[in-house]
Each structure stands twice: as structure tokens, then as C-alpha cells.
């Protein structure tokens, strides 16, 4: 019996070595293909491009509403600086803060235009759920590692496995690696087309409470931006919604924190009369191509004014 246990133990050890080797090899292959894919197709690998390659003077930070609404070329022409739209679909507070800090580790852009909304500092379960997008950067970026702890206390342990870090990523890597390079003529902006019928206006769903974790993370990010003398402008990106937000605690927290560091918030385009036109929207949360051009033009006037 003792012999059988010993044999089992040896087999388990051999199996573990086999698994670790596969995991290590897979990690190396994925990392190579990830870098190749990022260079080949930056708009499909926004997170990687933002973290490793972006080097423009002006950066746009935000989620999908930023990705679809800020026309980099219009901003570049008006500001006379290079612009890149780092907006990423479905990635909210934690991701955005991690990206800003990741960029600051490499270089200092001149201006950051940060797309937010009145509930930016309230708890968003989706934002927490999607922190996983930072896994590929956790190895080399302590900030991303800390962010992942918010998701689960076991994340630092789990990310030791490359298979976990690159979970479900291999196919996009392979496809992008073997396909022809795509030139990003829009510098990160992803225009969105209108749907067959324009959206109907609806009530915005704001969250009143400020999340203390978000508040402290945001405060740290802003202090770092300030320390590096980077100009930041926060913009409430238009949505085809109604609703009163100036009584929200989360809104006041945002206002107070940005005021503390002297960073302005452009609010008046949020529910601007000109932009409250359903034909300018793809859906309630996203401007279509025409809407994005109009909004960005209006924004440049505000930025010039400032």
C-alpha cells in the first residue's frame, strides 16, 4: 500500500511539472502573439495598445461612449496636437484608472480628456467584474496587480497561471497575428452607425452613493496626474437621457475631487439642446457617427475657450 501511495505521489508530481511546463510555454506564445496582434491591429487590442504603445500628446480615456464619441482627427486639427482615443468598450472606473497610471509609468501626455458621468464614483458591479481585463499587465504593473485584488483576494495567486491570464484570448491573437496589419486611420475613434430606428428618450439611472474605494483610487490618480503637470479635462459625454443629477452624492464627490486638483468638468454638453436629437444617437448611450462629429466639434470650442 505504501508503495502505491509513493507511486501516486510521483505521478502527481510528474503531472504537475507537465502542467507547469504547458502553462509556461503557453504564456510565452500568448505574450508573443499579443504584442504582434497589438501592432497589427491596435483598435482590436485597445488595452494592450494603451498600456504599451500609445504616445500621443492628447489622450481620450473612457468606456464605449468615449470610444464612439470623440473624433480624434477633429480634436487633433483644432488643438494642433496628436490625439489618440483610448476608450474601451465595457471598461469602466477601475480599468480607466489603471490605464491612466500605466501610461504615466511610461510617459506624460500633455492633455487627458476623460469621459465620465455623474455616477462615475459610485459602485458599478460591471466595472468590478471586468477588472479581469487587466490580467495581462499584472505581471509587470504593480498598479494593475493591486486593482485585481479588488476583484478577488485570490487573483494575485490565480494570475500566476498564464492559461488563466490569457483565458479565451488565444483565438483573437492567432487571427490578428496571421492577418494583414490594419492601419488605424481614426486614431482609436470607432465610429458607430445608426440603427434602423432612432432610440426613444429614457430616464437615466444614476447611483447616489459614492464608493469610498473608487474615491480613494480616483484621488490617487488625480494627485499623480497633478504631480506630473498633466492637464486633465473631465467631460460628461452626451447621452439621450433625461434626469436630475446635481443632488447626487456621487456627483458632488466627483466635483469636489476634481476641484481639489483644479481640473474642470465640462458638463454643459451632457444634455445640450443641440445634442438632444435622437437622430444623432445609435442608442441612448452612444452617439452615432454624425453625432460624434457634431459633439467633438462643439467640444473643441469649449476646449479652445478654456
Amino acid at each position: 500500500m505504501k508503495n502505491e501511495w509513493l507511486k501516486l505521489l510521483v505521478k502527481v508530481l510528474v503531472f504537475c511539472v507537465l502542467l507547469i511546463s504547458i502553462d509556461f510555454g503557453y504564456g510565452k506564445i500568448c505574450r508573443y502573439m499579443e504584442e504582434r496582434s497589438t501592432v497589427h491591429n491596435p483598435t482590436s487590442f485597445t488595452a494592450e495598445y494603451t498600456m504599451w504603445h500609445v504616445n500621443e500628446d492628447v489622450l481620450i480615456i473612457g468606456a464605449s461612449e468615449a470610444q464612439h464619441s470623440y473624433v480624434s482627427k477633429i480634436l487633433a486639427d483644432n488643438l494642433g496636437m496628436s490625439v489618440y482615443n483610448c476608450g474601451e468598450d465595457g471598461q469602466f472606473f477601475y480599468y480607466q484608472n489603471a490605464m491612466v497610471n500605466g501610461i504615466l509609468d511610461r510617459y506624460c501626455p500633455k492633455l487627458i480628456i476623460w469621459s465620465v458621468n455623474p455616477s462615475f464614483l459610485s459602485f458599478n458591479p460591471l466595472a468590478k467584474e471586468r477588472i479581469g481585463a487587466l490580467k495581462p499587465f499584472a505581471d509587470e504593473n504593480a498598479y494593475c496587480r493591486d486593482m485585481l485584488r479588488i476583484k478577488s483576494k485570490y487573483e494575485p495567486l490565480k494570475i500566476k497561471s498564464s492559461c488563466y491570464v490569457y483565458n479565451s484570448d488565444i483565438l483573437p491573437f492567432v487571427v490578428s497575428s496571421i492577418s494583414n496589419p490594419v492601419t488605424d486611420n481614426n486614431w482609436g475613434w470607432v465610429p458607430s452607425n445608426s440603427k434602423a430606428s432612432p432610440p426613444e428618450i429614457k430616464e437615466a439611472k444614476y447611483v447616489n452613493e459614492t464608493d469610498e474605494t473608487c474615491l480613494s483610487i480616483f484621488d490617487l490618480t488625480l494627485s499623480r496626474l497633478k504631480k506630473n503637470n498633466i492637464d486633465v479635462v473631465f467631460v460628461f459625454t452626451p447621452s439621450y437621457e433625461t434626469g436630475v443629477y446635481d443632488t447626487l452624492d456621487s456627483y458632488h464627490s466627483l466635483l469636489n475631487t476634481t476641484n481639489k486638483y483644479g481640473y474642470p468638468i465640462i458638463e454643459d454638453l451632457y444634455h445640450h439642446d443641440t445634442l438632444m436629437d435622437s437622430t444623432l444617437y445609435r442608442d441612448n448611450m452612444h452617439l452615432n457617427k454624425e453625432g460624434a462629429v457634431l459633439f467633438t466639434t462643439m467640444l473643441t470650442e469649449k476646449l479652445n475657450y478654456k
Binding site: L8, V14, F15, E129, G132, S161, Y164, N167, S168, I170
Partner: protein, 475 residues
């Protein structure tokens, strides 16, 4: 804590190790404590309910054991069953009955408001209640001896591998094992871990991957066309099979690592050539329970009605099955549809058998294939009632499937198809070539190791690791 949580991966090896270290006579109590701790991770407050059902089961079976009067024994059993059913009724069916009565009274002109309850359904209540009932009936029928150790009864009802989603264990299988509480052997560990590995693959790579698509379609069925709804309907049975089948393998494997053998729950159901065969392969522990405690007594009681007695017994059995699956009209309809399928099959059985034997159809691959496809389609259709929240939703889905054409919403990823293919190939081999092309069971250690490593690699690299709960947690 669930089987797919990271906590479980830390918890389980420690549990198995300590189980083998502590003295044999303490193992029942050790596993009882472990099972209660496991349950407490989910819903600590409902441990009271679990303990109460255990107390009732233990007390009433001991009482039954102390009497020789059959009538008295039967009465005790009935009161025991009523008492263990009360929490299930209260938590699962109270609101449904309440709403039905209110609607009925409103329809006949009485306006009344009976207070609702908004407490969460205790996880696993349907499973441990049915196990308790099974034990009470078995004691009454003198099929098992009364267990005098309350720890064993407690562990039988709460054993952590199966408390949350089954299999629905039987006293006759568990108590003899709980008396021995064997030390794990190396062969138990390897067999258990293999089952768990495959269970994780089924759950994380197949069920949760398909779940993304099926949920996206059914949760927004109004905006999808018939083609997409039909496709999601076809995928849903595979999702459920991989979900509950995967969970069952995890449960069986986890118990096996401690040398305990739990009854199987699935046996490649999609290779069934008739609905009755499907139900002998699908959720077997539940169906065997229904057969032993409802169908057999009913069909015996109605034997004078001949074939119609069987039809009635089938309909009533599957009505209970539907009610067990959920406190909703859709679940009842789901059960009745299964009953109708099986009743029609029972009515046509003689004709079918004679046709099959006349043309020797059972040996023809194309006949087997056609039967499998027809059974699958019928089953998938019935599952629409299991998946939709209301009868009107199910009706809209059915109408769209047959009337509204359009392009397919193509969101099932390559990973999903790849995982389904692996599952299908494995089940196909197990069904038709059980002694050939062995991988996990290969006599070659290199082939075995590579196959374990490939599946482990697939689980972590393409499994949905942030996926949802097991579907049967809601029952």
C-alpha cells in the same frame, strides 16, 4: 463556495487529507461538520432548516423502528413526510399557491390580499427533502434498517458533494458506506480526480460557454428572430446536460476521493432512441426516485386500468417532476409535456416493437440516428417551457420559431463549438466503443497523462472562469 470557486480548490484537498488522517470512528462527524461549514458558505441561516429536517427524519425513523404495528408505522411515515415537506412548501411553493388562489378569488369577484414572503429559497432544499422522504418510505417498507447514529443521518442529508444539486442519494446506498467510512485508496483518488476533471470541463467549457449564448437569446427573446430562438432551443439541452451532468461528476468524484461511491446521474442521454430511454439516462437519481416512490406505487394501484393506468401514473409522476423543478406554470407544463411524450410512447410501444423486430431496425445505424435526433428535438422543444419564465413567453418563443425567419445571431464562439465537439466525441466513444480509443483509461501512462493535461489546459485556457451558478441550484 461552489465547486467552481477558487476557495473550493483550497478547501477540498485539506478536507480529503484530514479525512484520511483522523480516526475512522470520527469521520462521520468530521464530514458532517465539513458539510455544514460548506453549506454555511452559501446560506448560513438555512443550516437551521437543514438541521430541523435532519432532526425530524431521525426522530420519525427511530419512532417507526420502535413500533411493530404497520398501520402506526405508516401514520408516522405520513406525518414525517408532511413535516419535512413543510419547509419546501413554505419556501418554494407558498408564493405560487398564494398568487394562484388570489387570482382565482379575484376572477370570481373576491378581492383579497394574502401576504407574500420574499425570502431566498434555501439552496438544495428540494434535494435533501426528497432524500429524507425516500429514507422515511424505505424504513416504512423495511427496505433499509433504521439508522441509530444521528451523525450518519445528518451526513446522509447534508453530505457536501451532493447537498446543493444532487444526485438525490438513497439511504440504501449511503448508510452501509457511512458505517465503514473507508480510508481513501490511491485508486479512489485517481478515479475521483478524473471524474472531477471531466466534470469541470463539462461545466466550465461547455455549459457556461453555451450559457452565454442561450442566456443572451432567451433573456432578450423579444428582439430575436425564430431562427436564433430555434438555435438557442437546440443548444439549451446540451447546456443543461453539461451543467447538471458536470456538477454530478464533480459530486461523484469528490465523494470518490474519500472512498465513497455516490449513485450516477447521467448516462449519455442524447444517445437515447426513445423518450423512455432518455429518462432512464437523464437525471437518473431523480427519475429513479420518482419511479420508486411515485410511479411504481401509482401504476400498481391503477393496474386494473391496464395501459390507461400506466398513462395516468406517468402523467402524475411527471406532474410531480414538473412541480419539483419549479413553482411556476411553465414547470408544470414542462412536466406534463414529458408525461404526454411518455404516455404516447407507452401507447404505441407494441406497434413500434413489432415494426422494429420485423425489419431488424434496432441494428441499423440510420434508424438509431433518426430516433436519437427525433428524441433530441422533442426534448429540446419541451425544454422551452423549462427555460421561459412564463407560459406567454414560451408561447411567443414557439410562435417565433415556427413563423419568424431571419439571420442567425452568431455569437457561439469557436471555443463553444470546440468544447461541444470534444464532449460529443467522448460520449460517442463511451456509448459505441467503450473499450477502444481509451484516453483517461488508457493502459499507456503517457496517453493518460497527456489527455489529463490537455483537458486541464482547456479548462483553464478556454473555460468560462467567471461564469454563473449551476442551473440546478435554483431547485
Amino acid at each position: 463556495m461552489t465547486f467552481t470557486s477558487f476557495e473550493f480548490l483550497l478547501f477540498f484537498p485539506v478536507v480529503v487529507l484530514l479525512y484520511n488522517i483522523i480516526p475512522q470512528k470520527l469521520r462521520v462527524w468530521y464530514l458532517l461538520v465539513v458539510s455544514y461549514v460548506f453549506y454555511a458558505f452559501m446560506q448560513p441561516v438555512y443550516l437551521v432548516l437543514l438541521a430541523a429536517v435532519t432532526g425530524i427524519t431521525y426522530g420519525f425513523t427511530r419512532w417507526m423502528g420502535a413500533t411493530d404495528d404497520d398501520d402506526k408505522k405508516k401514520r408516522i411515515m405520513i406525518w414525517g413526510i408532511i413535516l419535512v415537506l413543510l419547509p419546501l412548501f413554505f419556501f418554494k411553493y407558498y408564493n405560487f399557491v398564494n398568487e394562484s388562489i388570489t387570482a382565482l378569488l379575484t376572477a370570481i369577484g373576491f378581492h383579497t390580499a394574502i401576504p407574500k414572503i420574499s425570502w431566498m429559497l434555501p439552496v438544495g432544499i428540494s434535494f435533501y427533502t426528497f432524500m429524507s422522504i425516500g429514507y422515511l418510505v424505505d424504513v416504512n417498507n423495511e427496505e433499509v434498517e433504521v439508522e441509530t447514529n444521528i451523525g450518519s443521518v445528518g451526513l446522509f442529508l447534508s453530505f457536501f458533494p451532493y447537498i446543493l444539486s444532487g444526485p438525490i442519494e438513497r439511504a440504501g446506498n449511503m448508510f452501509p458506506q457511512l458505517k465503514k467510512m473507508p480510508t481513501s485508496q490511491p485508486s479512489d483518488l485517481t478515479a475521483g480526480l478524473k471524474l472531477m476533471l471531466w466534470g469541470y470541463f463539462m461545466k466550465l467549457c461547455v455549459a457556461d460557454r453555451l450559457g452565454i449564448y442561450v442566456d443572451a437569446v432567451f433573456n432578450n427573446f423579444v428582439n430575436h428572430n425564430g431562427t436564433t430562438l430555434a438555435f438557442a432551443t437546440l443548444l439549451y439541452p446540451i447546456q443543461v446536460y453539461a451543467d447538471l451532468g458536470g456538477y454530478s461528476l464533480l459530486a461523484i468524484g469528490a465523494a470518490r476521493c474519500m472512498g465513497l461511491k455516490i449513485i450516477p446521474n447521467f448516462n449519455r442521454p442524447f444517445f437515447a432512441t426513445s423518450m423512455s430511454e432518455l429518462w432512464r439516462r437523464w437525471h437518473m437519481s431523480f427519475i429513479n426516485w420518482l419511479t420508486d416512490y411515485i410511479y411504481t406505487p401509482l401504476s400498481f394501484a391503477l393496474r386494473s386500468w391496464k395501459i390507461w393506468g400506466i398513462v395516468c401514473a406517468l402523467m402524475l409522476t411527471f406532474l410531480v417532476s414538473g412541480i419539483w423543478h419549479g413553482a411556476a406554470i411553465t414547470s408544470i407544463v414542462w412536466g406534463l409535456v414529458q408525461g404526454v411524450y411518455l404516455s404516447l410512447e407507452a401507447l404505441l410501444q407494441k406497434k413500434r416493437s413489432s415494426m422494429e423486430s420485423k425489419h431488424n431496425l434496432n441494428k441499423k445505424w440510420w434508424y438509431i440516428l433518426i430516433c436519437c435526433v427525433v428524441v433530441y428535438l422533442l426534448f429540446a422543444f419541451s425544454q422551452i417551457f423549462g427555460r421561459c419564465a412564463t407560459l406567454s413567453d414560451a408561447w411567443i418563443v414557439i410562435r417565433k420559431i415556427f413563423n419568424v425567419r431571419g439571420s442567425l445571431f452568431e455569437e457561439v464562439t469557436t471555443y463553444g463549438w470546440f468544447s461541444i465537439l470534444i464532449l460529443f466525441v467522448k460520449d460517442f466513444r463511451d456509448e459505441f466503443f467503450p473499450n477502444q480509443f481509451r484516453l483517461f483509461e488508457s493502459s499507456h501512462i503517457v496517453i493518460r497523462f497527456i489527455s489529463y493535461a490537455v483537458i486541464a489546459f482547456l479548462i483553464v485556457s478556454i473555460g468560462v472562469l467567471d461564469g454563473g451558478q449551476f442551473i440546478y441550484f435554483q431547485f
